[in-house]
Symmetry: C2
C-alpha cells in the first residue's frame, strides 16, 4: 500500500476459516502472511477418531506449507500471535512483529469448563491433537488397568466411561468408545470382558443433539442405546474428580471422563478491546469486520455473527469456510474501493455420526438416520479431508476396520 | 509345576526376541506371561522413517495384545520390570510380583553416550517412538527457524545437520534427511533453500558400515555423496553442545545433531548379579541361559553371545528372533528333561538403506548396491512388518512418496 507496494494481508490461524481465506486470495494483488501455532492444518471433524485409536494424528493433519506451496503470494509462518496493536496495524508474534494493511482473525475456540478449570485434570476436552492423543492414552490405559485390577468395584469403576455433553462431539465419542470396547478390544483381554464396559452420555438439556429435529435426537438416542451407551438428559454436572462425576448429591463413579460440553473463543479475543459475547466470541458487523475497524475481520469459531437469524451461527467448519471466503472477498473489494458484502450463511445441512453404520443427518427438510445417514456422513467427511494422500489412507483404514473390526492406532504413548 | 499346575514362563520385553519366544511356545504345555513397558511391539528397523516424517508412529507399532490375541496360553501385561529375585524365582514389576518357573529376559538396548550423558540434550538417540517423534520435531523445526532467521551465519547453522555414527542407523538417517530436504521440503519454503542443507555423517573408524565388505562401504559413501551427504571418517567426537559438535579443537557448527553411535544393554541387566560385557550385555551360556541358572534365559540386544565366532553377535533383529526361538525350545526341552540345544545363528545377510533407490546388501558372497539392493531391502522390510494392515499402509505411503516426492507425517508436535 505504502510506496506502491502490494497491500499486506495477515491471517492469524490456519483452520478451516483462515485457510479458506488464504486460498480465496489466490489471485488477488496482495501479499498474504498466514501464521499458526502448529505447522499443520487439522481436520477437526475426525479428531474423535484419533481419540479412540481409529486413525493416526498424521492422517488428519496436513502441513500448511504443503497445502499452500503452489500459491506464490502466501508466506507461511510458524508462530503464535501474542497481541495486536490496531492503531499501529501490527501483530506481535512469538517470532517478531508483522505489519498489516488488512487482518483476518481466525484463531478458533478452546475447551471451556464454564468457570470450573479444576475439572480439566479429570475430564480432558477434545480440541487439538494433543487432547486426542491424551484421551486415547486414558481410554486404552483404563482397560489395561482394569485387566490387572483384582478388586471388583474398582475394576467396574475403571471400565466406566462418562462423556459430558450431548452435542455432536459427545455423541461421536460415546458411540466410538462403545464400539472400541465391544468389537475391537473384546478379544484381546483375558480377565476383563470389554463388552461389559459402561458408557454414560450426560446432557444438561432435555435431549441430545438439540440443534437437530427432535425426531433425529430420539433416533440418535435409540442408536446409542443399541451400542450400549446410556443417555442421561437433564443431568447437571456439579463436580468432576478422581471418584467420577458429581450430579448434585449423586456420584457417578467413573475411571475416565471426557469433556465434550463447552467451547469458548481463544484468549486472544480478550486482547482486542472490542465487545464479546458470553463465550468470549467477538461481535462482528454484517460484513465480518470488527465494529469501527474496517481493516480487521473476525471469522469462524471466534466470531459471534447474529445478523442472519438473531442467534449466533454454530461453530462448525462450513460456517468458518464461508466466512473465510467472504472476508477475503471483502478485502479485495475494499482495495478496489467497492462496498463490502454482507455475510450470509448457506446451510447445506448437518450430520452427526454415532458408530459403524449409525448416524443422523438433516439436509433441509430431508431427515436421515442409520446406514443412509452414515454413508452420507462418510462421503462428505472423506471428500473434504484435505490432501489426497490422507483421504486414501483414511479410507483404507476405515474400510479395513469396518470389515475386520480391527483398529490401527492403539498406541499408549 | 507345583500342585500339578503348568510351568509358568515369564517373558520380559515384547521386542523381536520376546515376541518370537512367546509365539514359539504356542503349543507348549506352559502358561506364558509377557510384560512390556509399552502396549505395542515396535518394528524398530523403520524407526528412522518416523524420525524423518515418512510414516506415522502407529504404522510401525502393533498392539502386543492384538498380535497374541489368538494364543490362549499367553497373558499380556503392561508393566515394567523393577527387579528380579532369582532365588525366590520372582520378578518385581510396577504392577506387582510375578512368580516364574522359567524366565526369558529380552529387554533390549538403549542409547549409550559412552559416559557422556550430557551430550543427550543436544544429540538425541533413536531407540524408541518418543525419540523418533522428538527427532522429527527438531528436524522440521530447524527448517521453520531457518525460514524466519535473518542472520546468514545463524541460518546456515540451523540448516546444518550432523549425524554421529556411521552404522546402519546413522547412514539411514543421514540419507533420509538429505532426501527430505532436497525433494520434499524444497518447494514449501519461500526464503530458505532446503536443497542447500548441509548434512555431515561422522564416523570414528576408517570407513562407514564397518560390518560390511569394504567395497560396499565405499559404495555407500558414494551413494551418500550423490545425495549431498558429506562423510567424515576418523572423526573423534569430544563434545556436543548448543554450538555444534566438537572434534578436538575444531567446532562443527550444527543446529541439529543426531546420535546414532552407541548402544548399551537396558539397565535391568545390572541388577542380575551376573557377568556383563563392556556394553552392559549379559554373558550367556551356549544354550542362552545365565551362567549357573538353567531357568533364566537372556536373548537379543541385552545378551552377549560369543560361543559361535568368538566375537559378540550383532544387535540386529534376526539374531534376537533366532535366539527367542531357541530359548523357547530349550524351555520345552527342560520340561521334558532333554538336554538343551546350543544356539547357532544363521546369518541370512544384512543390508542398509541409504535413500530412494539407494542401498547396499550383502547376502553370503552376493554383494548388491544401488537399486537392486534397495528393492531387496524394501521387500524384506515390508514382508516382516508385523500385521497386514501396517504392511499395506506403509507400502501405500511409500509408493505415494516415491512417485510424488511428498511426505505424509510432517507434524511438529
Amino acid at each position: 500500500m505504502e510506496n506502491g507496494k502490494k497491500p499486506r494481508v495477515v491471517i492469524i490461524g490456519a483452520g478451516f476459516g483462515g485457510l479458506t481465506a488464504a486460498q480465496t486470495l489466490r489471485r488477488a494483488p496482495v501479499d498474504v502472511t498466514i501464521i499458526d501455532r502448529t505447522n499443520y492444518h487439522l481436520f477437526q471433524p475426525l479428531l474423535y477418531q484419533v481419540a479412540i485409536a481409529g486413525i493416526s494424528p498424521a492422517d488428519i493433519a496436513a502441513p500448511i506449507r504443503s497445502i499452500l506451496s503452489k500459491q506464490k503470494n502466501v508466506t507461511v509462518l510458524l508462530a503464535e500471535a501474542k497481541g495486536i496493536d490496531r492503531d499501529a496495524r501490527k501483530v506481535q508474534t512469538t517470532s517478531g512483529e508483522l505489519a498489516y494493511d488488512y487482518l483476518i482473525l481466525a484463531v478458533g475456540g478452546q475447551t471451556s469448563y464454564f468457570g470450573h478449570g479444576e475439572w480439566e485434570k479429570n475430564a480432558p476436552g477434545l480440541k487439538n491433537l494433543d487432547d486426542a492423543v491424551e484421551i486415547r492414552r486414558r481410554v486404552l490405559l483404563a482397560f489395561e488397568r482394569a485387566e490387572r485390577e483384582s478388586d471388583a468395584e474398582r475394576r467396574r469403576r475403571l471400565m466406566t466411561f462418562v462423556v459430558v455433553g450431548g452435542g455432536p462431539t459427545g455423541v461421536e465419542i460415546a458411540g466410538a468408545i462403545a464400539e472400541l470396547a465391544k468389537w475391537v478390544l473384546a478379544r484381546d483381554f483375558r480377565k476383563i470382558r470389554p463388552e461389559s464396559t459402561e458408557i454414560v452420555l450426560l446432557e444438561g438439556g432435555d435431549r441430545i443433539l438439540p440443534s437437530f429435529d427432535p425426531s433425529l435426537s430420539a433416533s440418535a438416542e435409540r442408536q446409542l442405546g443399541e451400542l450400549g451407551v446410556r443417555v442421561r438428559t437433564l443431568a447437571q454436572v456439579t463436580g468432576i474428580d478422581e471418584l467420577g462425576v458429581h450430579l448434585g448429591d449423586e456420584i457417578l463413579p467413573a475411571g475416565t471422563v471426557i469433556w465434550g460440553a463447552g467451547v469458548a473463543a481463544a484468549p486472544l479475543t480478550a486482547l482486542l478491546g472490542t465487545p464479546v459475547d458470553r463465550a468470549g466470541r467477538v461481535l462482528v458487523e454484517p460484513d465480518l469486520t470488527l465494529p469501527g475497524d474496517p481493516r480487521v475481520f473476525a471469522i469462524g469459531d471466534m466470531a459471534c455473527f447474529t445478523h442472519q437469524t438473531g442467534k449466533p451461527l454454530p461453530g462448525v467448519s462450513p460456517v468458518a469456510m464461508q466466512m473465510g471466503r467472504t472476508a477475503a472477498m471483502n478485502i479485495v473489494r475494499s482495495i478496489e474501493q467497492q462496498p463490502l458484502l454482507k455475510f450470509s450463511y448457506v446451510d447445506k445441512g448437518s450430520m452427526a455420526t454415532i458408530g459403524r453404520s449409525r448416524a443422523i443427518a438433516e439436509i433441509g427438510k430431508l431427515k436421515l438416520s442409520g446406514f443412509a445417514a452414515w454413508m452420507a456422513w462418510l462421503l462428505v467427511h472423506i471428500f473434504f479431508l484435505i490432501g489426497f494422500r490422507n483421504r486414501a489412507v483414511v479410507m483404507f483404514n476405515w474400510a479395513w476396520s469396518y470389515f475386520t473390526y480391527q483398529r490401527g492406532a492403539r498406541l499408549i504413548r
